[in-house]
Amino acid sequence: MITKHLSPEILNQRRLEAVRLRLDGQTVANTAKRTGLSAPTISAAWKAFREGGWQAVPVRPRGRHKGNPQRLGETEREFLWQQLSRWPADKSPGWTSRELAEALSDETGRKVSPRAIEHWLEARDLKPAPMSLETTTKRSRKGRWLHQQVQPVLERVRSLGGAHWQGGVRVVTNSDGRQARCYQLYVHGKRGVLHTCRFASPPKARDYIELFERLADQGPTALIFHGAFFKASAEIAAWLEQHTDFQLLGVPPNSKL
């Protein structure tokens, strides 16, 4: 009988039963018949009993060690939520999970890993995935845009020693149950690190400009952005005109990146 499908609890009950039967003088064959375990399993249980007593008979827990997950309490969650509604004190273009973990540690003394913060962000739909910018066929709409509009700009910025970012603005519904919806401004930097802030109402031109300035402070920048219609904003157009080393590339609508 195959016993791999048995849960550890049932397997352990049968191993203990097998040892009891062996102590009663039953043969291995008889014990196997009555418990449904294989002869090697019965022998292993009997050997474990003889070497370590009853405590040694049950098998060790199977699978990955579950560990001790770092659960955030109400205070910590509230702190993180509030923190996301303001810009970081340094010139970072939004909160990273590491910065949030450090801020939490400084404020409340509670140490959690950046990974735990990422889980918290993910659970509240505040962790958008980076856009897929791999070039596909040049004939597709996406391919043409990437080849003709994006790549030349990225190469120019790279040759000037600058960096490129990608980001967007989006509506997050029922995030954390605190309010019906919030608006998330985010960018992905090197190796896809997420920098983010949240807003109670749609971000205004000054919010976008704040983000652009934080990115521009780091040198020549190319930003591929999705989710805002900047053409309608005179303030943003004026800012972009003044900052020629900042290249803003709007993702075409319905391009499914």
Binding site: V171, K204, R206, G227, A228, A232
Partner: protein, 300 residues
């Protein structure tokens, strides 16, 4: 004996109404608002009088604030149908530059739509006008008859309507009276979508979900269709995946967030929805029973 499906019954009823109007009136016209109901009505008219083009023109009472995609679609469809397209814009509205932003939706609707329609009816002397209104759209439309009689001043009296028992229509008109005829009166929004799907009727692309620039106004998503849309200080429109369940003047028509970018997906969404399509129309929220008041004054 073959049994007709419910859509075939509705189609037959609408075609019968159209033929009845052409037989009984002297100068009919089809009001064409470029929406999905108009698309179905035009399709039915073409079917009713095929192989000839329908023996009446299309009339668009324009407000100058429709979506750009609607104007493109309107011209294309009129050309395809081989029908005359009459476009009337209230000249007083142009002169006073009536618009939904500075004058508000009530004045804009009254001047550009209600007065515009009455002017056009008088100008061309139409005695019967087909409209694409349906009973399920709005409560005042629910109680309006298929043949809705209007006085010489284009007023509607909801308390004085003729019975239409067993679908027998009394088309007698007094001197100066005109009739608004609603061949789609008994259709529901779902019927319209199913018929569009089955008959492969072209509709304005705005009905399909797509990423469009929108701003939020009192909980409604208003599409920024051109540079005339005044933005609040510092406002930046967001690109959101939306579609329109109803189409009117763009500053007065709210979009809904949707992923339905195909007809089957729209139908599926329709089956799940619990709100009226006209929820997105700002003009319907002007005041209690506002639509009935507008209709009494001559609104379509």
């Amino acid at each position: 004996m073959t049994t007709l499906t419910h859509l075939q019954r509705l189609e037959a009823e609408s075609i019968q109404i159209m033929r009845e109007v052409v037989a009984e009136s002297e100068n009919p016209v089809m009001l064409y608002s470029v929406g999905k109901d108009s698309a179905v009505m035009l399709h039915l008219a073409r079917k009713a009088f095929a192989p000839s083009p329908p023996p009446f023109p299309l009339l668009h009472v324009d407000t100058r604030w429709k979506f750009r995609a609607m104007y493109e679609f309107r011209d294309r469809m009129a050309e395809e149908a081989g029908m005359d397209l009459l476009v009337h814009i209230n000249p007083e509205g142009i002169e006073k530059d009536i618009n939904p932003f500075t004058h508000g939706s009530a004045i804009h609707t009254d001047v550009m739509k209600t007065e515009g329609l009455k002017q056009a009816m008088d100008k061309y002397g139409f005695d019967a006008a087909f409209g694409g209104a349906r009973r399920d759209e709005e409560k005042s439309r629910a109680k309006e008859r298929v043949f809705s009689f209007r006085t010489a001043q284009h007023r509607w009296d909801p308390k004085n309507q003729r019975p239409e028992l067993w679908k027998v229509f009394n088309t007698f008109k007094h001197k100066g009276e005109s009739i608004r005829v609603f061949p789609l009166s008994n259709w529901t929004e779902l019927d319209i979508w199913q018929y569009i799907y089955l008959q492969n009727i072209p509709i304005v692309p705005l009905y399909y979900a797509g990423e469009r620039p929108v701003v939020e106004r009192d909980g409604a998503l208003i599409m920024v269709d051109d540079e005339r849309m005044p933005l609040e200080p510092g406002e930046v429109p967001m690109m959101r995946k939306v579609r329109f369940r109803t189409l009117g003047c763009y500053p007065l028509t709210g979009a809904v967030e949707s992923e339905a970018d195909t007809l089957p997906a729209i139908i599926q969404e329709m089956l799940l929805t619990r709100t009226s399509e006209r929820q997105g129309r700002v003009i319907d929220h002007d005041s209690a029973a506002s639509m009935e008041k507008k209709k009494q004054e001559g609104y379509f």
